[in-house]
Protein backbone atom coordinates (compact mmCIF):
# COMPACT_ATOMS: atom_id res chain seq x y z
CA UNK A 1 0.00 0.00 0.00
CA UNK A 2 1.35 3.42 -0.88
CA UNK A 3 1.52 6.32 1.55
CA UNK A 4 -1.18 8.14 -0.42
CA UNK A 5 -3.42 5.13 -0.17
CA UNK A 6 -2.63 4.72 3.50
CA UNK A 7 -3.70 8.25 4.31
CA UNK A 8 -7.25 7.55 3.19
CA UNK A 9 -7.77 5.77 6.53
CA UNK A 10 -8.80 7.95 9.42
CA UNK A 11 -7.13 5.46 11.73
CA UNK A 12 -4.46 2.79 11.66
CA UNK A 13 -4.97 -0.26 9.43
CA UNK A 14 -7.41 -2.59 11.25
CA UNK A 15 -8.03 0.14 13.83
CA UNK A 16 -5.58 -1.08 16.49
CA UNK A 17 -2.23 0.66 16.94
CA UNK A 18 0.88 -1.36 16.15
CA UNK A 19 1.93 -1.74 19.80
CA UNK A 20 -1.41 -3.35 20.64
CA UNK A 21 -1.20 -5.65 17.64
CA UNK A 22 2.32 -6.76 18.61
CA UNK A 23 1.19 -7.46 22.18
CA UNK A 24 -1.73 -9.55 20.90
CA UNK A 25 0.46 -11.29 18.32
CA UNK A 26 3.03 -12.33 20.93
CA UNK A 27 0.21 -13.61 23.14
CA UNK A 28 -1.24 -15.57 20.19
CA UNK A 29 2.09 -17.31 19.54
CA UNK A 30 2.20 -18.43 23.20
CA UNK A 31 -1.45 -19.52 23.01
CA UNK A 32 -0.67 -21.73 20.01
CA UNK A 33 2.36 -23.19 21.84
CA UNK A 34 0.19 -24.14 24.87
CA UNK A 35 -3.06 -25.39 23.31
CA UNK A 36 -6.17 -24.62 25.37
CA UNK A 37 -4.34 -22.49 27.95
CA UNK A 38 -5.76 -18.98 28.54
CA UNK A 39 -3.15 -16.27 27.90
CA UNK A 40 -3.93 -12.92 29.59
CA UNK A 41 -3.48 -9.82 27.45
CA UNK A 42 -3.62 -6.07 27.98
CA UNK A 43 -6.75 -4.73 26.33
CA UNK A 44 -7.23 -1.47 24.47
CA UNK A 45 -10.56 0.31 24.24
CA UNK A 46 -12.56 -0.82 21.24
CA UNK A 47 -15.32 1.15 19.49
CA UNK A 48 -17.94 -1.40 20.58
CA UNK A 49 -19.29 -2.26 24.02
CA UNK A 50 -18.43 -5.61 25.61
CA UNK A 51 -20.89 -8.24 24.50
CA UNK A 52 -20.46 -7.20 20.88
CA UNK A 53 -17.47 -9.42 20.41
CA UNK A 54 -14.63 -7.11 21.37
CA UNK A 55 -12.34 -10.06 22.17
CA UNK A 56 -12.91 -11.57 18.76
CA UNK A 57 -12.58 -8.18 17.09
CA UNK A 58 -9.23 -7.56 18.77
CA UNK A 59 -7.89 -10.92 17.61
CA UNK A 60 -9.17 -10.41 14.09
CA UNK A 61 -7.67 -6.91 14.03
CA UNK A 62 -4.27 -8.23 15.10
CA UNK A 63 -4.11 -10.93 12.41
CA UNK A 64 -6.05 -9.57 9.41
CA UNK A 65 -4.15 -8.50 6.27
CA UNK A 66 -5.01 -6.99 2.92
CA UNK A 67 -5.18 -10.40 1.22
CA UNK A 68 -7.71 -11.83 3.65
CA UNK A 69 -11.32 -12.62 2.77
CA UNK A 70 -13.42 -12.15 5.90
CA UNK A 71 -16.64 -13.90 6.92
CA UNK A 72 -18.50 -12.95 10.09
CA UNK A 73 -21.30 -15.03 11.56
CA UNK A 74 -23.59 -14.73 14.54
CA UNK A 75 -25.43 -17.93 15.50
CA UNK A 76 -24.63 -19.25 12.03
CA UNK A 77 -26.09 -16.28 10.17
CA UNK A 78 -24.16 -13.68 8.16
CA UNK A 79 -26.99 -11.14 8.10
CA UNK A 80 -27.73 -10.45 11.77
CA UNK A 81 -27.02 -6.97 13.15
CA UNK A 82 -23.97 -8.09 15.11
CA UNK A 83 -22.39 -9.90 12.16
CA UNK A 84 -23.18 -7.09 9.72
CA UNK A 85 -21.72 -4.44 12.05
CA UNK A 86 -18.47 -6.33 12.60
CA UNK A 87 -18.10 -7.10 8.90
CA UNK A 88 -18.70 -3.43 7.98
CA UNK A 89 -16.26 -2.31 10.65
CA UNK A 90 -13.45 -4.41 9.18
CA UNK A 91 -14.33 -3.51 5.61
CA UNK A 92 -14.03 0.15 6.62
CA UNK A 93 -10.80 -0.07 8.62
CA UNK A 94 -8.96 -2.56 6.38
CA UNK A 95 -10.57 -2.51 2.94
CA UNK A 96 -10.45 -6.33 2.82
CA UNK A 97 -12.92 -8.38 0.82
CA UNK A 98 -15.81 -9.90 2.74
CA UNK A 99 -17.89 -12.96 1.96
CA UNK A 100 -20.70 -15.09 3.34
CA UNK A 101 -19.16 -18.22 1.78
CA UNK A 102 -17.33 -20.45 4.27
CA UNK A 103 -15.28 -21.97 1.45
CA UNK A 104 -14.18 -18.57 0.11
CA UNK A 105 -13.17 -17.13 3.50
CA UNK A 106 -9.60 -17.11 4.79
CA UNK A 107 -10.66 -15.68 8.14
CA UNK A 108 -13.97 -16.36 9.91
CA UNK A 109 -15.07 -14.51 13.02
CA UNK A 110 -17.89 -16.29 14.80
CA UNK A 111 -20.26 -15.94 17.67
CA UNK A 112 -21.74 -19.26 18.79
CA UNK A 113 -21.31 -21.54 15.73
CA UNK A 114 -18.80 -23.41 13.62
CA UNK A 115 -19.89 -23.52 9.96
CA UNK A 116 -21.31 -26.79 8.63
CA UNK A 117 -19.06 -26.65 5.56
CA UNK A 118 -15.85 -28.38 6.69
CA UNK A 119 -13.01 -25.97 7.39
CA UNK A 120 -9.78 -26.38 5.46
CA UNK A 121 -6.07 -26.04 6.07
CA UNK A 122 -4.92 -22.42 6.08
CA UNK A 123 -8.22 -21.01 7.34
CA UNK A 124 -8.38 -19.27 10.71
CA UNK A 125 -11.50 -19.12 12.88
CA UNK A 126 -11.81 -16.46 15.57
CA UNK A 127 -14.40 -17.14 18.26
CA UNK A 128 -15.99 -14.40 20.37
CA UNK A 129 -15.90 -15.63 23.95
CA UNK A 130 -18.00 -14.13 26.77
CA UNK A 131 -16.51 -16.34 29.53
CA UNK A 132 -13.19 -18.02 28.76
CA UNK A 133 -12.90 -19.92 32.05
CA UNK A 134 -14.58 -23.33 31.80
CA UNK A 135 -14.35 -23.67 35.59
CA UNK A 136 -15.80 -20.25 36.44
CA UNK A 137 -19.28 -21.40 37.44
CA UNK A 138 -17.63 -23.86 39.83
CA UNK A 139 -14.90 -21.61 41.22
CA UNK A 140 -15.19 -17.81 41.29
CA UNK A 141 -11.57 -17.07 42.18
CA UNK A 142 -9.09 -16.61 39.34
CA UNK A 143 -6.22 -17.54 41.68
CA UNK A 144 -7.95 -20.85 42.39
CA UNK A 145 -8.87 -21.67 38.79
CA UNK A 146 -5.26 -20.98 37.75
CA UNK A 147 -4.16 -23.50 40.40
CA UNK A 148 -6.69 -26.06 39.22
CA UNK A 149 -5.39 -25.75 35.64
CA UNK A 150 -1.77 -25.86 36.86
CA UNK A 151 -2.41 -29.16 38.64
CA UNK A 152 -4.78 -30.45 35.97
CA UNK A 153 -7.30 -30.85 38.79
CA UNK A 154 -10.56 -31.15 36.89
CA UNK A 155 -12.54 -33.37 39.25
CA UNK A 156 -14.98 -30.51 40.00
CA UNK A 157 -16.14 -30.42 36.41
CA UNK A 158 -16.70 -34.16 36.33
CA UNK A 159 -18.71 -33.90 39.54
CA UNK A 160 -20.86 -31.15 38.03
CA UNK A 161 -21.58 -33.17 34.89
CA UNK A 162 -22.30 -36.25 36.97
CA UNK A 163 -24.77 -34.29 39.09
CA UNK A 164 -26.54 -33.49 35.82
CA UNK A 165 -26.82 -37.18 35.12
CA UNK A 166 -28.14 -37.88 38.61
CA UNK A 167 -30.77 -35.14 38.26
CA UNK A 168 -31.82 -35.37 34.62
CA UNK A 169 -30.64 -38.83 33.57
CA UNK A 170 -28.30 -37.20 31.05
CA UNK A 171 -25.78 -34.35 30.85
CA UNK A 172 -27.96 -31.25 30.51
CA UNK A 173 -25.20 -28.97 29.24
CA UNK A 174 -26.02 -28.43 25.58
CA UNK A 175 -23.74 -25.53 24.65
CA UNK A 176 -20.34 -24.30 25.85
CA UNK A 177 -19.77 -27.98 26.64
CA UNK A 178 -16.29 -28.32 28.19
CA UNK A 179 -13.47 -29.94 26.24
CA UNK A 180 -9.99 -31.26 26.98
CA UNK A 181 -7.47 -29.83 24.55
CA UNK A 182 -4.36 -31.86 23.72
CA UNK A 183 -5.16 -34.04 26.75
CA UNK A 184 -3.98 -31.27 29.05
CA UNK A 185 -6.15 -28.15 29.43
CA UNK A 186 -9.86 -28.07 30.19
CA UNK A 187 -11.23 -25.35 27.93
CA UNK A 188 -14.42 -23.56 27.02
CA UNK A 189 -15.27 -23.97 23.33
CA UNK A 190 -17.27 -20.69 23.67
CA UNK A 191 -21.09 -20.95 23.59
CA UNK A 192 -21.24 -23.12 20.49
CA UNK A 193 -23.82 -25.91 20.64
CA UNK A 194 -22.24 -29.22 21.65
CA UNK A 195 -23.28 -30.29 18.14
CA UNK A 196 -20.20 -28.36 16.97
CA UNK A 197 -17.75 -29.87 19.49
CA UNK A 198 -16.66 -32.77 17.24
CA UNK A 199 -15.61 -30.20 14.61
CA UNK A 200 -12.93 -28.94 17.03
CA UNK A 201 -11.18 -32.32 17.08
CA UNK A 202 -8.30 -32.53 14.60
CA UNK A 203 -9.64 -29.52 12.70
CA UNK A 204 -7.42 -28.62 9.73
CA UNK A 205 -7.98 -24.92 10.55
CA UNK A 206 -6.39 -22.84 13.29
CA UNK A 207 -8.98 -21.97 15.97
CA UNK A 208 -8.48 -18.82 18.06
CA UNK A 209 -10.60 -17.64 20.98
CA UNK A 210 -10.81 -14.06 22.28
CA UNK A 211 -12.54 -12.80 25.44
CA UNK A 212 -12.62 -8.99 25.55
CA UNK A 213 -14.00 -8.33 29.00
CA UNK A 214 -11.81 -10.99 30.61
CA UNK A 215 -8.81 -10.04 28.44
CA UNK A 216 -7.88 -13.62 27.65
CA UNK A 217 -7.09 -15.46 24.46
CA UNK A 218 -6.45 -19.12 23.71
CA UNK A 219 -5.94 -21.39 20.74
CA UNK A 220 -6.50 -24.83 19.34
CA UNK A 221 -3.86 -25.45 16.66
CA UNK A 222 -4.76 -27.49 13.57
CA UNK A 223 -4.72 -31.28 14.01
CA UNK A 224 -5.04 -31.15 17.79
CA UNK A 225 -6.91 -33.67 19.92
CA UNK A 226 -10.05 -32.16 21.44
CA UNK A 227 -12.25 -34.38 23.58
CA UNK A 228 -15.63 -33.47 25.03
CA UNK A 229 -15.85 -34.60 28.66
CA UNK A 230 -17.80 -37.82 29.08
CA UNK A 231 -18.22 -40.89 31.25
CA UNK A 232 -17.95 -44.55 30.31
CA UNK A 233 -21.66 -45.09 31.07
CA UNK A 234 -22.68 -41.73 29.57
CA UNK A 235 -20.70 -41.18 26.38
CA UNK A 236 -20.73 -37.75 24.72
CA UNK A 237 -23.48 -37.29 22.15
CA UNK A 238 -24.67 -34.40 20.01
CA UNK A 239 -28.11 -32.96 19.35
CA UNK A 240 -30.18 -34.71 16.68
CA UNK A 241 -33.46 -33.79 15.03
CA UNK A 242 -36.22 -35.96 13.66
CA UNK A 243 -36.98 -33.32 11.03
CA UNK A 244 -34.87 -32.27 8.09
CA UNK A 245 -34.30 -28.56 7.39
CA UNK A 246 -37.60 -27.16 6.02
CA UNK A 247 -35.71 -25.05 3.46
CA UNK A 248 -32.93 -27.29 2.13
CA UNK A 249 -33.82 -30.74 3.40
CA UNK A 250 -30.48 -31.31 5.12
CA UNK A 251 -30.40 -34.04 7.77
CA UNK A 252 -26.85 -33.22 8.85
CA UNK A 253 -26.92 -29.62 10.04
CA UNK A 254 -27.75 -27.86 13.29
CA UNK A 255 -31.38 -26.71 13.18
CA UNK A 256 -33.08 -23.70 14.75
CA UNK A 257 -36.78 -23.79 15.53
CA UNK A 258 -38.45 -20.65 14.18
CA UNK A 259 -41.99 -19.35 14.49
CA UNK A 260 -43.36 -18.56 11.05
CA UNK A 261 -46.65 -16.75 11.70
CA UNK A 262 -48.76 -15.08 14.37
CA UNK A 263 -50.62 -18.33 14.97
CA UNK A 264 -47.37 -19.84 16.28
CA UNK A 265 -46.67 -22.21 13.40
CA UNK A 266 -43.13 -23.55 13.69
CA UNK A 267 -40.50 -24.98 11.43
CA UNK A 268 -36.92 -26.15 11.70
CA UNK A 269 -34.26 -24.58 9.49
CA UNK A 270 -30.47 -24.63 9.31
CA UNK A 271 -28.78 -22.24 11.69
CA UNK A 272 -25.94 -21.91 9.13
CA UNK A 273 -27.52 -19.67 6.48
CA UNK A 274 -24.62 -19.99 4.00
CA UNK A 275 -24.74 -23.79 4.19
CA UNK A 276 -28.52 -23.83 3.81
CA UNK A 277 -28.32 -21.66 0.70
CA UNK A 278 -25.59 -23.85 -0.82
CA UNK A 279 -27.75 -26.93 -0.21
CA UNK A 280 -30.78 -25.25 -1.81
CA UNK A 281 -28.75 -24.18 -4.83
CA UNK A 282 -27.25 -27.66 -5.14
CA UNK A 283 -30.74 -29.08 -5.49
CA UNK A 284 -32.05 -26.45 -7.87
Amino acid sequence: MTEACHSQWQYNFAFLDENTKRMLRRALLKAVAIPGYQVPFGSREMPLPYGWGTGGIQLTASIIGQDDVLKVIDQGADDTTNAVNIRRFFARVTGVATTSSTAAASLIQSRHRIPETPLRSGQIMVFQVPEPEALRTLEASEVETRKLHAHQEYGLMHVKLYEDIARFGHIATSYDYPVMVNQRYLSSPSPIPKFDNPKLHMSPALLLFGAGREKRLYAIPPHTRVESLAFDDHPFSVQRWEQACALCGSHDSYLDEIITDDAGARMFVCSDTDYCQQQQEGKA
Binding site: L29, V32, I63, K147, R184, H223
Partner: protein, 191 residues
Protein backbone atom coordinates in the same frame (compact mmCIF):
# COMPACT_ATOMS: atom_id res chain seq x y z
CA UNK B 1 24.10 4.73 10.63
CA UNK B 2 20.48 3.63 10.62
CA UNK B 3 19.44 0.82 8.31
CA UNK B 4 16.13 0.77 6.54
CA UNK B 5 13.46 -1.55 7.92
CA UNK B 6 10.43 -2.73 5.95
CA UNK B 7 9.09 -0.55 3.14
CA UNK B 8 5.69 -0.58 4.82
CA UNK B 9 5.99 -1.54 8.47
CA UNK B 10 2.25 -2.07 9.05
CA UNK B 11 1.55 -4.38 6.11
CA UNK B 12 4.89 -6.17 6.09
CA UNK B 13 4.82 -6.91 9.83
CA UNK B 14 1.31 -8.31 9.42
CA UNK B 15 2.50 -10.59 6.63
CA UNK B 16 5.49 -11.80 8.63
CA UNK B 17 3.33 -12.35 11.71
CA UNK B 18 0.83 -14.48 9.77
CA UNK B 19 3.70 -16.57 8.46
CA UNK B 20 5.03 -16.94 12.02
CA UNK B 21 1.59 -17.86 13.37
CA UNK B 22 1.22 -20.51 10.67
CA UNK B 23 4.74 -21.78 11.43
CA UNK B 24 3.91 -22.23 15.11
CA UNK B 25 0.49 -23.75 14.33
CA UNK B 26 2.07 -26.38 12.04
CA UNK B 27 5.52 -26.88 13.55
CA UNK B 28 8.68 -27.92 11.71
CA UNK B 29 7.19 -27.14 8.31
CA UNK B 30 9.62 -24.57 6.84
CA UNK B 31 7.86 -21.56 5.33
CA UNK B 32 9.32 -18.84 3.15
CA UNK B 33 8.73 -15.38 4.61
CA UNK B 34 6.46 -13.33 2.32
CA UNK B 35 8.60 -10.20 2.59
CA UNK B 36 12.10 -9.43 3.80
CA UNK B 37 13.71 -6.17 4.90
CA UNK B 38 17.36 -5.39 4.11
CA UNK B 39 19.39 -7.67 6.40
CA UNK B 40 20.84 -6.17 9.55
CA UNK B 41 24.63 -6.74 9.77
CA UNK B 42 25.39 -10.05 11.49
CA UNK B 43 21.84 -11.38 11.01
CA UNK B 44 19.94 -13.19 8.29
CA UNK B 45 17.22 -11.22 6.45
CA UNK B 46 14.49 -13.46 7.91
CA UNK B 47 15.77 -12.77 11.42
CA UNK B 48 15.59 -9.04 10.82
CA UNK B 49 11.99 -9.48 9.64
CA UNK B 50 11.04 -11.33 12.82
CA UNK B 51 12.69 -8.77 15.08
CA UNK B 52 10.80 -5.89 13.44
CA UNK B 53 7.59 -7.89 13.80
CA UNK B 54 7.87 -9.12 17.39
CA UNK B 55 10.11 -6.77 19.38
CA UNK B 56 9.16 -3.49 21.04
CA UNK B 57 9.59 -1.59 24.31
CA UNK B 58 7.34 -4.04 26.18
CA UNK B 59 9.77 -6.96 25.91
CA UNK B 60 13.48 -7.61 26.49
CA UNK B 61 15.92 -9.32 24.19
CA UNK B 62 19.23 -11.00 24.91
CA UNK B 63 21.80 -11.58 22.21
CA UNK B 64 25.54 -12.15 22.00
CA UNK B 65 27.47 -9.04 20.92
CA UNK B 66 25.78 -7.54 17.82
CA UNK B 67 27.33 -5.04 15.38
CA UNK B 68 26.73 -1.40 16.49
CA UNK B 69 24.76 -0.60 13.32
CA UNK B 70 22.40 -3.49 14.06
CA UNK B 71 21.85 -2.40 17.64
CA UNK B 72 21.29 1.21 16.61
CA UNK B 73 18.75 0.20 13.98
CA UNK B 74 16.86 -2.07 16.37
CA UNK B 75 16.79 0.67 18.99
CA UNK B 76 15.38 3.05 16.42
CA UNK B 77 12.83 0.77 14.73
CA UNK B 78 11.83 -1.46 17.68
CA UNK B 79 12.73 0.56 20.79
CA UNK B 80 14.96 -2.42 21.61
CA UNK B 81 15.60 -3.16 25.29
CA UNK B 82 18.46 -5.54 25.98
CA UNK B 83 18.38 -8.01 28.87
CA UNK B 84 21.55 -8.45 30.91
CA UNK B 85 21.40 -12.23 30.85
CA UNK B 86 19.59 -14.84 28.73
CA UNK B 87 17.87 -16.10 31.90
CA UNK B 88 15.94 -12.82 32.21
CA UNK B 89 15.01 -12.27 28.58
CA UNK B 90 11.66 -12.59 26.81
CA UNK B 91 13.46 -13.21 23.51
CA UNK B 92 16.86 -14.84 23.02
CA UNK B 93 18.48 -14.08 19.69
CA UNK B 94 21.13 -16.57 18.58
CA UNK B 95 22.85 -15.65 15.30
CA UNK B 96 24.30 -18.56 13.30
CA UNK B 97 27.17 -20.23 15.16
CA UNK B 98 26.32 -18.76 18.58
CA UNK B 99 26.62 -20.94 21.67
CA UNK B 100 23.21 -22.12 22.87
CA UNK B 101 22.48 -21.19 26.49
CA UNK B 102 21.00 -24.27 28.23
CA UNK B 103 17.30 -24.21 27.30
CA UNK B 104 16.54 -25.27 30.88
CA UNK B 105 18.11 -22.03 32.16
CA UNK B 106 15.71 -19.78 30.20
CA UNK B 107 12.38 -18.43 31.40
CA UNK B 108 9.92 -21.34 31.26
CA UNK B 109 6.86 -19.67 32.81
CA UNK B 110 5.15 -20.74 36.03
CA UNK B 111 2.57 -23.52 36.51
CA UNK B 112 -0.16 -20.84 36.73
CA UNK B 113 1.29 -18.70 33.89
CA UNK B 114 3.27 -20.91 31.50
CA UNK B 115 2.99 -18.18 28.85
CA UNK B 116 5.48 -16.02 30.77
CA UNK B 117 8.27 -17.83 29.03
CA UNK B 118 11.07 -17.15 26.59
CA UNK B 119 11.03 -17.38 22.82
CA UNK B 120 14.33 -18.33 21.17
CA UNK B 121 15.16 -16.96 17.71
CA UNK B 122 17.70 -19.50 16.50
CA UNK B 123 19.50 -19.09 13.18
CA UNK B 124 20.39 -22.23 11.23
CA UNK B 125 22.08 -22.71 7.87
CA UNK B 126 19.33 -24.57 6.07
CA UNK B 127 16.47 -27.02 6.46
CA UNK B 128 16.95 -30.68 5.55
CA UNK B 129 14.50 -33.52 6.14
CA UNK B 130 16.88 -35.91 7.81
CA UNK B 131 17.34 -35.62 11.59
CA UNK B 132 14.20 -36.19 13.61
CA UNK B 133 10.60 -37.34 13.49
CA UNK B 134 8.18 -34.96 15.12
CA UNK B 135 4.54 -35.08 16.21
CA UNK B 136 2.06 -33.32 18.48
CA UNK B 137 -0.47 -30.52 18.04
CA UNK B 138 -0.23 -29.17 14.49
CA UNK B 139 0.84 -32.50 12.97
CA UNK B 140 -1.77 -34.38 10.94
CA UNK B 141 0.79 -37.20 10.94
CA UNK B 142 4.44 -37.38 12.06
CA UNK B 143 6.81 -35.23 10.01
CA UNK B 144 10.53 -35.68 9.28
CA UNK B 145 12.62 -32.59 9.89
CA UNK B 146 16.20 -31.46 10.13
CA UNK B 147 18.32 -28.33 10.07
CA UNK B 148 22.00 -27.85 9.39
CA UNK B 149 23.91 -25.52 11.68
CA UNK B 150 21.98 -26.42 14.83
CA UNK B 151 23.93 -26.19 18.11
CA UNK B 152 25.31 -29.54 19.30
CA UNK B 153 22.88 -31.66 21.33
CA UNK B 154 20.01 -29.31 20.45
CA UNK B 155 17.51 -32.15 20.05
CA UNK B 156 18.49 -33.71 23.38
CA UNK B 157 17.89 -30.36 25.05
CA UNK B 158 14.61 -30.07 23.18
CA UNK B 159 13.35 -33.37 24.55
CA UNK B 160 14.03 -32.12 28.09
CA UNK B 161 12.22 -28.87 27.25
CA UNK B 162 9.16 -30.70 25.93
CA UNK B 163 9.13 -32.94 29.01
CA UNK B 164 8.41 -29.86 31.15
CA UNK B 165 5.20 -29.06 29.22
CA UNK B 166 3.19 -26.87 29.79
CA UNK B 167 6.29 -25.04 31.03
CA UNK B 168 9.13 -24.51 28.60
CA UNK B 169 10.49 -22.28 25.88
CA UNK B 170 9.40 -21.98 22.26
CA UNK B 171 11.83 -21.75 19.36
CA UNK B 172 11.72 -20.16 15.93
CA UNK B 173 14.30 -21.75 13.62
CA UNK B 174 15.41 -19.27 11.00
CA UNK B 175 17.35 -19.68 7.74
CA UNK B 176 18.16 -16.85 5.33
CA UNK B 177 14.62 -16.61 3.98
CA UNK B 178 12.65 -19.34 5.80
CA UNK B 179 11.17 -20.00 9.18
CA UNK B 180 10.13 -23.16 11.07
CA UNK B 181 8.22 -23.03 14.36
CA UNK B 182 9.06 -25.29 17.28
CA UNK B 183 6.53 -24.79 20.09
CA UNK B 184 7.09 -26.60 23.41
CA UNK B 185 4.20 -28.94 22.55
CA UNK B 186 6.21 -30.65 19.79
CA UNK B 187 7.41 -34.19 20.50
CA UNK B 188 10.69 -35.03 18.80
CA UNK B 189 12.36 -38.41 18.34
CA UNK B 190 15.89 -38.53 17.02
CA UNK B 191 16.94 -40.79 14.18
Amino acid sequence: MLLQAFDNMVQDCQQVFRCTLAAMAEPLLPRTLPCLPPALPGLKPATSALLYTLIDQDVTLWAPALPPATLASLRFHCALRLADTPEQADFILLPAGSALPPLSSLRAGSPEYPDRSATVLLEVEDFTPQQVEASGPGFASPRRFGATGLPPAFWTQWQANHARFPLGVDVLLISATQLAGLPRSTVVQEG
